[in-house]
């Protein structure tokens, strides 16, 4: 049946030398459907068959030449390294690591030398943390029931909000809240509403703009999702494009397994910030009516095969900035039950502190940041992220990897001229 459907289309196609399918076919990189289709086209094109033979012969020379390339002398991994690895294993699950390791990554020659420092945060960081903590405590005293909170600007004029009246631009000090959580499912409706309004040349009503839903309306690249591994994850950090002093962290989680099968029950995610690197954090893009979402535990949720979530955190680093010394910026832990089991399992991922520039971030990171900044701008809730839409679209100019993305970036650019 499929043949009848495809044949008329295929018979009109011919293969040109720059068609990557030639090499994919020659190297056995096609699945059976692709291969059968391609062979049908090939049958009518003898010159393409000859190219494939040539590609195979190039591949053979490459393999044999590269096999002869000298392999560097073997490294010896010392017992110190093994010790360090074991120590890291323990805090891998949920609790804040009590053992810090400082690795002098640039002391290239003496690679076996590691210095372990136990429970001794740097003095400068401690001072910065204390300021934030004091402010947070005062906020809590002054407005009972409200979340301790500080305003966005970490400069000398740091302003105390006291309440969470404007939660979207509120950062929580790590000293008071060293963990955060986020929902594993969000809707997609907001994207549709925003897209419809912009397509008609109108500015979407702020209340219809929900940044997390906009971010999650697009699909992203996922690394290794192998059988037996229930979740794939993406963790990435870079400077925040709207404030290079802040760090932006993208966390993506995806339930693997067959589409629609129940993978996990009672799944809850917990993000644990390293207080030695992070002074304060905020979860970007959840509705203003849910100020506690980044703080209070959300209910455990089922996760289904193929379901995925991507969130962004904006972090204020400790005084002096994050240090790429090999310690973690944060740990993401996911606790869940297998559907037929009572025992709670957990899996954790680490994100090392770094100082990546936004310009060097992955296309997905750039796209997510652009969607977030654009959405925040539409909501008008956060003057600190007031960036003109065409500029925001430029951030993601190299990320338009799908028609949906290209379209949305186009709408973003065009929205610059829409009046309120």
């Amino acid at each position: 049946m499929a043949e009848h459907k495809y044949e008329p289309v295929m018979s009109t196609q011919s293969i040109l030398p720059d068609d990557p399918r030639l090499t994919a076919y020659a190297l056995g990189e096609m699945d059976s459907v692709e291969r059968q289709e391609f062979e049908r086209i090939l049958a009518a094109q003898p010159e393409a068959q000859a190219w494939i033979e040539e590609i195979r012969s190039v591949a053979d020379s490459l393999e044999s030449s590269l096999r002869d390339e000298p392999m560097p002398a073997a490294v010896v991994v010392s017992s110190h390294v093994l010790e360090r690895g074991r120590a890291r294993r323990r805090p891998a699950i949920l609790r804040f690591p009590q053992l810090y390791f400082v690795v002098s990554g640039l002391a290239a020659a003496c690679f076996a030398v590691f210095v372990a420092v136990r429970d001794r945060p740097a003095a400068g960081d401690e001072a910065g943390k204390k300021v934030l903590a004091d402010m947070g405590n005062r906020a809590a005293r002054e407005s009972p029931g409200a979340m301790p909170a500080v305003a966005t600007d970490e400069s000398a004029t740091m302003e105390l909000t006291g309440t969470v009246a404007a939660p979207e631009d509120t950062f929580f000090p790590v000293a008071d809240a060293e963990t955060s959580t986020f929902p594993l499912h969000v809707g997609r409706e907001s994207y549709q509403a925003v897209r419809d309004a912009l397509t008609r040349g109108r500015r979407p009503a702020p209340a219809t703009v929900r940044v997390a839903e906009m971010i999650n309306a697009f699909s992203y690249a996922w690394p290794a999702a192998k059988s037996g591994e229930p979740f794939a994850s993406v963790l990435e950090e870079s400077a925040a494009p709207w404030n290079p002093k802040h760090r932006l962290v993208r966390i993506g989680l995806k339930a693997t397994g067959h589409e629609g099968t129940r993978v996990a029950d009672d799944a809850r995610v917990e993000v644990q910030f390293n207080a030695r690197q992070v002074a304060a954090w905020r979860l970007i893009g959840f509705d203003g009516g849910q100020p506690a979402i980044g703080l209070a535990g959300v209910d455990g949720e089922p996760m289904f095969g193929g379901s995925a979530i991507t969130v962004l955190y904006e972090l204020i680093p400790v005084a002096g900035g994050t240090t790429g010394d090999g310690t973690d910026l944060l740990t993401v832990a996911l606790r869940y039950r297998q559907p037929d089991s009572e025992s709670v399992e957990s899996v954790a991922w680490h994100l090392a502190a770094g100082n990546h520039r936004f310009e060097d971030a992955s296309p997905d990171m750039k796209f997510v940041a652009a969607v977030a900044a654009f959405g925040i701008g539409l909501r008008g809730t956060d003057p600190a992220v007031a960036v003109p839409p065409p500029t925001v679209a430029d951030w993601a100019a190299s990320s338009a990897s799908s028609p949906e993305r290209a379209e949305f970036l186009g709408l973003m650019r065009a929205s610059g001229s829409i009046q309120r």
Partner: protein, 175 residues
């Protein structure tokens, strides 16, 4: 909170992984780091440290791909941190392109290999990397896609472009 009751088993797993893959990882990292073998050792070492922090069941069935992915990230971290890094120290280049000290390939084959290697060296860096991952390390397009964060289509395009260029050069045709 879980503890690992299988320390000995895990250590054997790590030790085997180190023995089997450190050479290939070091070669890959040294390339990414423009010939800086010392820094490459740091990167490879850090890769194994991260492996130890990883539950074995999570990496076991795609260990080599995982190692290359982490190794690549760490190497790029170094490059980003150290923007002053000069492209290539001439000594490092010489060390790296010196012929295999092992007795083995006959002269003719070695000459062919040297010519092919020179052609590979003239490819753009991103093509060189995927060509090596494919033909030196034997990864599939999908695995290369996950290691490099490129799409599978992109990987296929880069490999095809490189192969077609090498095909022309090997046939002695101008580009």
């Amino acid at each position: 909170m879980t503890t690992d009751p299988h320390h000995h088993e895990s250590d054997a797993f790590i030790t085997t992984a180190v023995e089997q893959h450190q050479g290939a990882l070091l070669r890959y990292a040294t390339r990414l780091l423009h010939g800086d073998a010392d820094r490459a050792r740091d990167v490879v070492q850090d890769t194994f440290v991260r492996l130890m922090a990883q539950p074995r069941a999570q990496v076991e069935d795609h260990l080599v791909e995982w190692l290359f992915t982490v190794c690549r990230h760490r190497a790029l971290d170094f490059l980003r941190k150290d923007t002053r890094m000069t492209p290539l120290d001439p000594m490092a280049a010489e060390r790296f392109s010196s012929p295999d000290p092992m007795p083995g390939p006959d002269i003719e084959r070695r000459e062919t290999s040297a010519a092919v290697m020179a052609m590979i060296d003239r490819l753009p860096p991103n093509q060189q990397e995927v060509i090596r991952l494919k033909f030196q390390n034997g990864f599939s397009y999908k695995e290369i896609s996950r290691i490099t964060s490129l799409s599978v289509g992109n990987v296929g395009f880069l490999i095809h472009t490189a192969v077609m260029r090498l095909r022309r050069e090997m046939a002695g045709q101008p580009e």
